[in-house]
């Protein structure tokens, strides 16, 4: 059992992990890839670097710094988080238990950018199988995705219907499927009247009663949605101590909105770690 699991290895996550480690907490940092900072070529506005530094360089330094100070870091992808009674974090390769969790995975929820998509959000387009799957018992279910996250959602949806079609939307399928119907063409349009009723691809049309979205990897807001944390325009809502409405679940960095800058993310990480330390003392 860890005191804290930090999800995300960017400036918010790494900073929080360093602070928690220095509070002598048993902390695990789980990171997948380099996120938004990994795509940043030039950083000239961050304190203390005389020469331009690249995003990937700064990230690597941050993680190496955390490791040097004793933080346990693993590269893995988190697929889901449960919180009864303690937190259970499920990744592709394992499961980890903790008293607190910090979401610091940046802002990366992937949407479909096709005609009609925005019109049917909440009207047959869903981001959460465990929330809405039950409503579609024995109905025609569409599921968009191509990786483990999609597979997770598929497992949930199989409890409700046998009529499931996977849409990879032109992406390579990186997981193995057996009996499922798979459509690899790109989606071009979502159609319906009051509710969604059709997915149009490059050369075909498919009738659906619902379309679940699980593209790429789950984002912080995907976790928040499933756990019942408040969201505001896809940003996780936290209080002044960076805690969500779920006791022990904290969030920091880009996923809570505000200034999308390294300096703000590191500040969030420090504040969150201090609050988590306090929470651990009192609970």
């Amino acid at each position: 059992m860890y005191d804290a699991i930090v999800i995300g290895g960017g400036p918010a996550g790494a900073t929080a992990a360093i602070y928690l480690q220095r509070f002598k907490k048993n902390v695990l940092l789980i990171m997948k890839d380099s996120g938004a900072l990994g795509k940043t070529a030039h950083i000239d506005n961050y304190y203390g670097f005389v020469e331009t530094i690249t995003g990937p360089e700064l990230l690597e330094k941050g993680i190496n710094q955390a490791k040097r100070l004793g933080v346990e870091v693993i590269k893995d992808e988190v697929l889901g988080i449960d919180n009864f009674p303690d937190f259970n974090v499920k990744t592709i390769n394992g499961e980890y238990q903790s008293k607190t969790v910090l979401l610091a995975t940046g802002k990366n929820q992937v949407n479909l950018r096709v005609k009609g998509f925005n019109d049917f959000i909440g009207k047959g387009i869903s981001y959460c199988a465990i929330c809405d799957g039950f409503i579609y018992r024995n109905k025609k279910i569409g599921l968009v995705g191509n990786k483990e996250f999609m597979l997770e959602e598929l497992e949930v949806l199989k409890n409700f219907s046998e009529d499931i079609t996977i849409f990879t939307n032109g992406m390579d399928l990186s997981v193995e499927l057996h009996d499922e119907k798979i459509v690899t063409e790109k989606i071009t349009e979502i159609k319906g009247d009051e509710k969604i009723n059709q997915v149009v691809t490059e050369n075909s049309e498919f009738d659906v009663d619902v379309l679940f979205i699980a593209i790429g990897s789950p984002s912080a807001s995907d976790f928040a949605l499933r756990m019942g944390a408040f969201l505001d325009k896809n940003n996780i809502v936290v209080d002044e101590s960076f805690m969500t409405n779920i006791p022990g679940l904290f969030a920091a960095g880009d996923c809570i909105g505000g200034l999308l800058q390294i300096v703000k993310a590191t500040s969030d990480g420090a504040h969150a770690a201090i609050a988590m330390n306090k929470y651990l003392k009192n609970n």
């Binding site: 909440g122 047959g124 809405d132 039950f134 409503i135 009051e194 949605l225 019942g228 505001d232």
Partner: protein, 103 residues
Amino acid sequence: MPVKVTTETFKKEVLESEVPVIVDFWAQWCRPCLMLAPVLEEIAKDFDGKVKVAKVNVDQEGYLANQYRISSIPTVLLFENGQLKNQVIGLMRKEDLVKRLGL
């Protein structure tokens, strides 16, 4: 306190109510629904006597869920004088829900 409403009591409790009614479509297995419950209890307290808060369990009341085309839960509907006035989908903070419902 929010009142539990069924297909049988919906007309009397919601459509014939003298005050506006917020109807929460929810289910036990839906985590966001469970987190919305305390928000609705607070709204019931804040608007005591002015707005009624009702809850419909979509597992038990499939007819109502179908009739109002509930496709994602939690969904909150606002009724005034028997008419559907507003619909809000998803978990949110009290102040956001109150604003979105136009209370």
